[in-house]
Amino acid sequence: MAATTAARQTRVRRVPEVPRIMKQGRIAPWLYLGPALIVMITFIVYPGFNTLYLSFRNIDGTNWATQACVAGEPCWGILENYRYALTSQIMLTAFLNNLKWIFIMVPGTVLGGLLIATLANRVRYEAFAKSIIFLPMAISFVGAGVIWKFVYDYGSGPNQIGLLNALVTSLGGQPVSWLTEPAINTVALIIVGVWMSTGFCMTILSAAIKNVPADLLEAASVDGANAWVSFWRITVPVILPTITVVTTTMVINVLKIFDIVYIMTGGNYGTEVIANRMYQEQYTSFNTGRAAAIAVVLIIIIIPAMYFNIRRFRAEEAMR
């Protein structure tokens, strides 16, 4: 009895004559995943964990961070690098500046992009107008930093070669040292960021606006809604998932902002940001422990934005 059942089972298993290699056993999926996993583990997972480990180590990774404690000063033991990353004066400045970047650059780019996308949607020279706005995207952040450094240039001599100061002096004003005055320099840098990234937001939002069903808009206008009302009551709600994705993407980009600050002020004059501090700790001060701790803090700050971003993105995909 038992023997016949076994025999039947064998026969049943043999019936679909599929070559063995094509059968999806336990191993085959891993073979497909393998290359991606190897790349991920080598370049993302391993460095990630190593960074976490180094953040608990001292200046060059030869001992625990506790060693960096100075007698008579507060000490967080093995978390000493995090004491620096979370409580030092320069890092507090960096956090504050990153907040400024988020609160000015994100609304600036998203609202600016939305405005331009909406307006351009109604004119005949749309492609041309959008190209102009998109153009800065083709320049690297470093290139843009150099260009704007000239725009903001402050000459201590009689001649102003900076575009902005040339304007100011031709209108009879006093030249301003835009990049060194703590009251205005961070905003001056953020303007460069807005100039760079508005095109990106505009392109994506413009595509979403074009996807708003025409019948909805027609129905609204039949019901007597003017452009203003149908924009707020129809267009915006329909493209809201896209707006959210663009916003969270910008938040992530802004949290990581580095190039503009590094090129234009080097983080001096109170313009420090988290990513620039991380670079300075690693490559100017050769303090691996602190740089790693700042990197970990930066990742932790970014994770919520990333999670939200991916979730919204999936929701948007599901809607299609």
Partner: protein, 433 residues
């Protein structure tokens, strides 16, 4: 009898004169057993003309021993670190003292590679010694404790080169009274912004306190917020923050690029009377104003009253002790190498044998200042590792930008204590062994 001895003496002197240089050229190069075709990989931050000069200096060695140099030039400060971390350091790096401290366990001592201490002034050997090991051979030096000015402008306006600090102070005040701006200052230098300020302050420390004080700061014996340091900042700040004393006042100092600051005293009309800048400024002035003549239109004097010099030196560090490297170290430390260095005009050679062999009058003048100094200190910020330099620049930038001096200096002193504490601990640990 008398006549014959004269002739004999003449023959002896002549033959000596003829043979000595010939010997210096050929037989003084010791290949240390390196075989023809042996390679030496080198990493440095020189390029263009600097690289050409280095090649000129190394050519006699390459010809004599058949060595092949594999140089790599980079502007990336982080590259050496990356290479060492990866386990593939170059045989030789022309780099900084901070690297010598950082890699002290991986480097070979210069004595073991064939360099002779007595060829260099004591302070150079002392400065290159880490925990009792001489790891860094000074190959090229430049001095910072000098002030550039225009002799033509000084003459026209009736100013004279000051001999003491008080005379300098009086000269500055006289210029201000005449409505001339005495100083041209400029900090802007990317993420190294502030270094011209810290250079100036170190020179003031050399005037007011002397080289021992500066070396005590480097060793951590004097905290950076000591009253001597504060005094130097205040002297500097008086000039750097006031448009009467420097072009554009504080904002001018902060936002002017250090190169632009070098040009201002030599423009027509001059925008300032003096600029304190290292020896390299001469080359920059010549490049910008090819018509100006050294000695007439531009010249320099030592910061008056300085009891020692501040300077930078490019140091040779060796990660290998193979014969080809030994041959290179031995050659560069020998009189032949020093003379080749002086003749190539690649800044100053700290080697004692180089004096008198410079072809360029500027280099010769600097060599004399260097030969006559009683002390030499490296840049404080370059020497203390672990973020001190950056902290120092931040402090000077913030101070000139109007922040409170005591707070800024305390912040630097904190970094100084932090980074020098582990070093002191390792020193104690090695001593205990």
């Amino acid at each position: 009898m008398r006549k014959r001895s004269w002739i004999l003496l003449l023959v002896l002197v002549l033959s000596a004169a003829l043979t000595v240089p010939a010997q210096a050229q050929s037989s003084s190069i010791d290949c240390k057993g390196a075989a023809k075709g042996d390679t030496v990989s080198m990493l440095y931050q020189w390029s263009g003309q600097e690289e050409a000069r280095l090649n000129q200096i190394l050519k006699p060695l390459a010809d004599a021993c058949g060595l092949v140099f594999k140089p790599e030039s980079t502007r990336d400060q982080a590259l050496l670190d990356t290479r060492v971390q990866a386990g593939t350091p170059p045989d030789i790096a022309f780099w900084t003292l901070a690297s010598a401290q950082r890699y002290q366990d991986k480097l070979f001592t210069m004595d073991s590679l064939g360099a002779d201490k007595s060829a260099y002034p004591d302070f150079f050997v002392q400065n290159g010694t880490v925990n009792g090991k001489w790891l860094a051979l000074p190959v090229k030096a430049d001095i910072k404790t000098i002030i550039w000015y225009s002799p033509a402008v000084f003459k026209a306006k009736g100013y004279t080169v000051p001999k003491t600090w008080d005379e300098l102070d009086a000269l500055v005040e006289k210029m201000v009274a005449n409505k001339d701006v005495p100083w041209s200052m400029g900090f802007e230098s990317g993420d190294a912004t502030g270094w011209t300020g810290s250079d100036f302050i170190q020179d003031i420390l050399l005037v007011k306190q002397g080289p021992q004080y500066v070396n005590d700061i480097i060793a951590g014996k004097v905290p950076y917020n000591d009253k001597g340091v504060k005094e130097a900042y205040e002297i500097y700040g008086k000039w750097a923050k006031d448009p009467k004393y420097t072009v554009g006042g504080a904002q001018g100092t902060l936002s002017t690029a250090f190169l632009d600051a070098i040009y201002k005293p030599f423009m027509d009309p001059p925008q300032a009377m003096m600029v304190k800048q290292s020896g390299f400024a001469g080359g920059e002035i010549q490049k910008k104003f090819p018509d100006l003549k050294y000695g007439e239109d531009y010249d320099f004097f030592q910061v008056p009253g300085a009891k020692g010099l501040q300077g930078g030196a490019d140091l040779m560090l060796s990660f290998s002790d193979k014969p080809a490297v030994k041959a290179l170290v031995t050659y560069l430390a020998s009189p032949a190498g020093a003379i080749a260095w002086a003749e190539a005009g690649f800044d100053e050679s700290p080697n004692k044998a180089a004096v008198g062999h410079y072809k360029d009058p500027q280099l010769q003048k600097k060599a004399e200042i260097l030969a006559n100094t009683s002390g030499f200190t490296y840049d404080i910020g370059d020497t203390i590792p672990g973020g001190f330099g950056k902290a120092e620049w931040t402090a000077i930038v913030n101070y000139v930008n109007g922040k409170d001096l005591d707070t800024e200096l305390a912040a630097v002193a904190k970094v100084q204590a932090e980074v020098l504490k582990p070093a002191a601990a390792t020193m104690a640990a090695t001593a205990a062994k």
